[in-house]
Symmetry: C2
Subunit: 117 residues, 2 copies
């Protein structure tokens, strides 16, 4: 695994469902990629355009990690040059409920948020 690589051989901190979920997507960026996929974005360049400005190397690493976790699927839509699109799996779409809960919490408790996006 690369320089920014993460553990891939199941070093779960515990068997708690919450902790396992956080082991997979509990960082500052993964759920923002899932959010973008849920709102229709599919391509590397589209993720980079999001207002949070994810660094390119972090994006590439997270996409690989999310794919190896079975949350997204990478599909080539062009062979020459190789161009990829990313899609949520059923497992990934299941995270929508987590994002909805965060969204509702933020709307209720964080004054700085804006309802769109």
């Amino acid at each position: 695994m690369g320089k920014t690589g993460r553990r891939s051989t199941v070093p779960w901190r515990s068997y708690c469902p919450i902790a396992c979920t956080l082991d997979l997507v509990g960082d500052r960026w993964s759920l923002l990629i899932v959010r973008d996929l849920l709102t229709g974005k599919k391509r590397y360049g589209e993720f980079l355009e999001s207002p949070e400005k994810i660094p390119t190397n972090i994006l590439a690493e997270r996409l690989k990690h999310l794919e190896s976790a079975g949350i997204i699927k990478r599909k080539l839509y062009s062979w020459h040059p190789p161009r990829a699109e990313y899609h949520l799996t059923a497992k990934g779409r299941g995270l929508a409920s987590v994002l909805q809960a965060m969204y509702a919490w933020a709307i209720k408790h964080l004054p700085q948020v804006r309802k769109s996006s």
Copy 2:
């Protein structure tokens, strides 16, 4: 703020509700502390006993951060020696829905989890 300090002067990555929520609690440990508080734990030593084994310095820093974010409230239950208990605020209890969604997702999609805890 200490050596492991985090930004405290609202440097939100964006005004997206999801991103703002992750700016507050989107790290490996904060939501585990909230989980412990929701299941009745109140004291520093109790958080340390959880199976994930949070490092002591990280716990101290996260407790301060969660308090400054208005998610928990620190209350002394003894003056001599100074002993503190931590409680969720209404804002903090609102995160229960996020944790419930993660719990349900993990039960459905992660084979390694165990239902208790």
